[in-house]
């Protein structure tokens, strides 16, 4: 399907905004202004491509911690992200109870996820089951890293969706590492999409640095799921350009040359070039977008810095639904 220039620009914009915000988080960390950051740099094409295939706010998502670009597409604001980075009051994901990037955004059906990897895969199956029981035409997208598909939980979630033909899209972001561990030590197949054949659902591997290709593939899967055709497993491949997180020192397990080599496939560079080549944007427009993004990010950081911390006392609730307080 040929996309309009408008849509292409929108996709690029979301990738760019996510990148600039993400880069700023690293700066904040170096400045000692935040304690932790886990980055989506290199993952933007896969996430934006997938997000644009959904009906935002209608479909459901159970995301994972690298999904900054995905969450921004769904409607998370840069200000909100900065609040969570800083553990400030108003963080919509957890009221600053969880670490940054443990996303949740109720208003757009993005479900709270935790740190133990792959738990969200099973929740996605349950949400898919609920949708099917209710005979609705929503779909669920759930994301995960390739290493985490080693968890038994992951298989169980995918298996449920396959057995019951649930409207779930399982998107694996294969960035070549699980912290320090390469895919060869996780699985004996070439792509996590190959796992699909053993579970009885379609499996597709896609270039996760190409936002348009991802959009295409995820769109077909969404269409199939929405019309009762069941789940799809998709692996999007990219490279984790940054260390695993701000706590990681990736020089202990990979060479600088390897990283530099892979930066050539940075999805932001690729899409920029593609947009320029196809005359979708001009250099000038790109520069405008760059400065726009920078402005938004700067404003968000300022907002975050000025925001108050939660009070001590907020830590005491809500343990049960009865204790929920709003405001």
């Amino acid at each position: 399907m040929e996309l309009s220039s408008e849509l292409k620009k929108e996709m690029y914009w979301m990738m760019l905004l996510s990148r600039r915000l993400d880069e700023r988080a690293w700066v904040l960390h170096r400045q000692g202004k935040i304690a932790f950051h886990i980055s989506g740099i290199g993952h933007e094409a896969a996430q934006v491509g997938a997000a644009f295939a959904l009906k935002k706010g209608f479909d459901w998502v159970t995301p994972y911690y690298r999904d900054l670009a995905l969450m921004l597409c769904l409607g998370l604001t840069p200000r909100e992200f900065v609040l969570s980075l800083m553990g400030k009051s108003g963080d919509p994901s957890s009221g600053a109870r969880q670490m940054p990037s443990h996303f949740s955004l109720r208003r757009v059906n993005a479900v709270s996820h935790s740190a133990p990897v792959a738990t969200q895969t099973v929740h996605a199956a349950g949400i898919g089951l609920a949708i099917k029981m209710k005979k609705e035409d929503k779909v669920v997208l759930t994301t995960i890293g390739e290493g985490s598909t080693s968890q038994g939980e992951w298989y169980e979630g995918v298996n449920w969706a396959a057995v019951h033909q649930l409207p779930v899209i399982f998107l694996v972001q294969n960035n070549q590492y699980a912290i320090s561990v390469p895919p060869e030590l996780q699985m004996a197949v070439k792509s996590s999409a190959d796992k699909a054949c053993g579970l009885g659902l379609p499996g597709i591997t896609v270039d996760g640095t190409d936002v348009f290709e991802v959009f295409d593939i995820v769109s077909s899967a969404v269409e199939r799921a929405r019309t009762g055709g069941g789940p799809t497993l998709i692996e999007a491949r990219m490279y984790r350009i940054t260390p695993h997180s701000s706590d990681d020192d990736d020089r202990t397990y990979r060479s600088r040359e390897e990283v530099e080599e892979n930066k050539k496939k940075d999805p932001i560079i690729l899409i920029r070039q593609k947009l320029l080549d196809t005359l979708v944007v001009s250099e000038k427009e790109l520069q405008e977008m760059d400065s726009n993004a920078k402005e938004i990010v700067t404003e968000a950081v300022k907002f975050g810095e000025e925001a108050p911390y939660p009070s001590f006392e907020e830590a005491s609730y809500p343990v049960f639904v009865e204790d929920v307080r709003n405001g």
């Binding site: 957890s94 109870r97 935790s114 099973v122 349950g126 939980e153």
Partner: protein
């Protein structure tokens, strides 16, 4: 009112709640045509269909995890774990996910679900069909834990559990399924989750128990009454939240506390109750707080002499209670 067995009361509760609320559904192993291995769901498959009484894959993790997903969506799953002993594959989903969802999302997401599990020994089930598992779950803020010991309570508490907006672990003393009978109203009623039940008033000693142990505790109390010892029997019934008031008031009255459970002693639930009494009723105590519990072996052995050695029964309770009364 008619007399019913414990398991019939449990089935009635599910039936009525499914009728009342179309969001309630059952998921578990063999709960469909088979009606559950203890026949707790007999007839419900025929009445509500395969859409609401779901024979799951043989995988507890996803029975609970899929339940959580459906609950996040707004449905009300009643998950059956075939034997409590088999709940451990689902431990991560229960402890990391269900119990922490409300807190971690600052109340944005809730998990209104019930997990039913038949527990307890004395039925020749050996190590893996006899376990008491409550202590693993009474240490998880965010989870309610309920153990009925009468058909009346079983129906009323299960209905309350299904309507509760929080995850509730509902433990059923399986030895009592057909052994314990009692009057059960035909109509709709709930027994609130929270209050313990003073099932027999007494003045010499307080006897705290739940499940089958409460059944035997009442027999002991009767026996001891004939010896002139007045036992106050308290059915703890709701293990979490703990009804501290009822517990402490009783100890204030009697000055002596015996806590009974069939689960292993060390690290068992009784330790918490003993600790509460030791701290908050110190000046009321006329004797040491005693616990009578299963011995510290891994679980109930199969062969009858060994099973008898393990299990707490009326006689062991009577002896322990007499002993303490005579302190």
């Amino acid at each position: 009112m008619v007399e019913k067995t414990l398991v019939d009361a449990i089935r009635d509760a599910m039936d009525e709640e499914m009728q009342r609320d179309e969001n309630v559904f059952i998921v578990g192993e063999d709960v469909g045509q088979r009606g559950g291995v203890f026949r707790a769901t007999v007839g419900l498959f025929d009445k509500y269909g395969s859409n609401r009484v779901i024979d799951s894959p043989l995988a507890e993790l996803s029975i609970v995890g899929v339940g959580i997903g459906a609950a996040l969506y707004g449905l009300k799953p009643v998950c059956e774990i075939q034997f409590a002993d088999f709940i451990f594959p689902a431990f991560n989903q229960i402890i990391s996910e269900a119990t922490k969802m409300v807190y971690r999302s600052n109340g944005e997401w809730t998990v209104p679900m019930v997990i039913r599990a038949p527990y307890g020994g004395g039925i020749g089930g050996g190590l893996y069909h006899s376990q008491s598992i409550e202590a693993y779950f009474t240490h998880a803020p965010g989870l309610k834990v309920v153990v009925p010991s009468t058909p009346y309570d079983a129906k009323g508490l299960l209905k309350a559990a299904i309507r509760d907006p929080n995850p509730v672990l509902f433990l059923e003393p399986k030895k009592g399924y057909r052994l314990i009978k009692g009057e059960v109203p035909e109509d709709d009623y709930c027994v609130p989750i929270g209050p313990a039940n003073i099932s027999q008033q007494g003045t010499d000693i307080s006897l705290f128990a739940y499940g089958m142990m409460h059944y035997y505790a009442l027999q002991s109390a009767q026996k001891l009454a004939s010896e002139g010892i007045s036992v106050e029997v308290i059915d703890l019934r709701t293990l979490i939240p703990i009804d501290k008031e009822t517990i402490l008031n009783s100890v204030k009255k009697t000055g002596k506390a015996l806590i009974v459970h069939e689960d292993n002693l060390t690290g068992g639930y009784g330790g918490e109750i003993a600790a509460i009494i030791a701290e908050h009723a110190f000046t009321d105590l006329d004797a040491p707080v005693r616990r009578l519990a299963g011995p510290d072996v891994p679980a109930v052995p199969f062969s009858h002499p060994m099973q008898d050695w393990y299990m707490i029964n009326e006689e062991k309770i009577t002896n322990a209670a007499r002993d303490l009364a005579n302190y």
